[in-house]
Symmetry: C4
Subunit: 233 residues, 4 copies
């Protein structure tokens, strides 16, 4: 079932390790098949070196396990909510990569300071609030997804142009057109967060990227006029 | 003798290298078989790439070598005291990993700033004082263990919920349910120490994680209601 | 066509990855054959692990693709302008390596603080201004090259003695006698940028390298009296 | 000739790369055979991956090449002076490792802040002055060695207990009982320099290690009462 998607989700999870975004088992990637409404995700607490296509878990958008012998990632309900709320996305990544996690823990937004950022994120990466005691008690992981979706809705942020957020006290979530694309956004977020920290040390009053360069770099890679790459994703 | 334990202790020592926590020969992991009261530890000054199951040293809790052709790690008496004083632990790790060693050398405690920390340590990681000239002269390594045990006892800290400390001017010690678990706690300590340093630069007045999130993340992974992973350690 | 040059350009692109200067597909190296006026460059958006000699693109100095089944790097017009404007150079490298990109984004020049820098760059590495909205709209990548060439011309900087610059809000460009040499200059730029950041923290009032040491180290490796290496490049 | 020494010197040079202390060709290790008065060193500008036992250069203490088809490292005269001036040492390492190079460029001494440092260096790592224009013009590399030897002599520093220094504006030199031992001291210097920088950020007023701990750790590994390791070097 969903063999191609599983292979991409496996590759995307292993890319997390290769790119140095995860230590131990702190991270997970999923990908969705919009036609069937099923998504594939990493099992919980399994070492990356032991991951295989057959160890991945398939669920429907109500959170029911459809296939797979193992428990899905404990963060699965968050992925599920993001797929429901952001109907155009095809993959979700969650890591505790250190730079992006520092921004999350500190609750600091990441302005766009350069073209590396503009290539992936069209503007300032937002912070999403932490959950209340009641939300934690009720359903921690589902309410994490709800808090993200509500923040984007309330602030009028387009999740396609801004495929990332920092959850306060926790860590980043990113998404994208596919599982692999969501991992690439995690890499970009980690690198840009680290560069912003260095820049604030180098020149504390650094200004964000001017709008015409933000638009140029974002649109060079995304949208109908894109001319980066070989014409496929 | 204790073949399975030796294999785990070997794997745990090699994981130190793989996770980037040791340079040269600066680190050691041990694991204990509570039934026999024997523990297995790395030999002293042996390069990690030369380690084999048969080069590991087996000792009893009085510090007598029971098996193995080489001298045990010079830190062995510290491990021995920790096994005696903390009867529920199954493994001990000592490294000079850089971030955690900075906290140790500077004598700075590590507050819980986020869920990565809360997944492993239930609260602030404590500093244990350096030894006096008399303690050093008498028995440096045994008294190191005594100082750690005394600090936890006097401050009423549960070593199961707080499996780590920074020894002033020296470096961290961690422990856990098993040798591998103690290494995972060393990884978490190193990462969280580094993230705290970054956060203090990013937002110096950052507040610790609220109690309801600390409890949620710690208990999601530990204790009777844990639901992270596949139901085994 | 140009088999030897293609092999060097492939090796130079892979060296970027090995030296940790690129993540994902953020970087490109080219090399030129001055006899034919043709240059070889990485294709756009292709993963480094999939690069082969045959996937490289050959262009002339008017920007026409002469050989290769794929689109050239989106930064190709910038390389082209540099080859036209700096007739003595043989290779060009563009990366988003983190330290050099921080200097670029912040618009901070890099003074020569030590002999590592002097071995590669004879003085302060300059910042080149960002493009105007009109320049972006007209031809972003060509005008990037024009801005670099104009900055060197107007400030009287010799591009052979200073084979690097930081483009404001964007990232570094380096060049050299060959494709491989331009990558080595990228490595040196990244290392020296990182060391300068550390030094400003360690001793904010640090003075630049005295002139007699700058000249000694630069000339030990470059020019007619060079005695570093085995007498070939 | 000197086959065993050459094999150790090759291994020691490759260890520099493995430990991340060198980029490109910025570093060199030598080892001496005191019986014959001959030393073995890396050739100049040769990539580490191309190094073989037969590419190493053998010289006498007057600087004459005795064996080897290639030019010796451009820093060879510095090694030669150190062997002459410090008759108890068996190996010398020079790198541009980033943390130690920052201390060198900034001219900042490294106090002993913890036991990792005390295991290798008995006290504060000194800075050696830069050369004058006359010294550079006369013989740069020989005078570099002379400046190091003079600094140790004038300040009464024992080069055995303090096998390292930072040369102002340049980079570190370390030495040791053997070629491999000198590389281990380079690793320790790099790690301790980095930890000191972090500690100054974490607690700017951090005090050095008390004398009884400095002596304990240094003597645990060095001298007649040493009990670290397996009783051989």
């Amino acid at each position: 079932m969903l063999r191609d998607l599983k292979e991409e989700v496996l590759e995307a999870n292993l890319l997390l390790v290769k790119e140095g975004l995860v230590r131990l088992t702190w991270g997970n990637v999923s990908g969705i098949d919009r036609a069937s409404g099923l998504f594939v995700i990493k099992p919980s607490g399994v070492a990356y070196e032991d991951l295989t296509v057959d160890s991945l878990v398939v669920l429907d958008l109500d959170g029911r396990v459809v296939e797979g012998p193992l428990r899905p990632s404990s963060d699965t309900p968050t992925h599920r909510v993001l797929y429901r709320e952001f109907p155009e996305i095809g993959g979700v990544t969650h890591t505790h990569s250190v730079n992006a996690t520092m921004f999350s823990q500190a609750g600091v937004e990441l302005p766009c300071f350069g073209t590396t950022h503009a290539d992936h994120f069209h503007g300032t990466v937002p912070v999403v609030r932490e959950l209340t005691p009641e939300e934690v008690a009720e359903d921690y992981e589902t309410n994490t997804g709800n808090a993200i979706a509500a923040a984007f809705r309330e602030r009028g942020i387009d999740p396609i142009a801004m495929p990332a957020c920092f959850q306060k006290y926790h860590a980043p979530f990113t998404w994208g057109k596919s599982a692999l694309d969501s991992v690439k956004n995690s890499v970009a977020l980690e690198v840009c967060a680290g560069m912003a920290m260095g820049m604030w040390r180098l020149r504390p009053e650094t200004a964000p990227l001017p709008g015409h360069l933000l638009d140029k770099h974002y649109l060079r890679k995304h949208g109908p006029g894109a001319y980066y790459g070989q014409g496929k994703v």
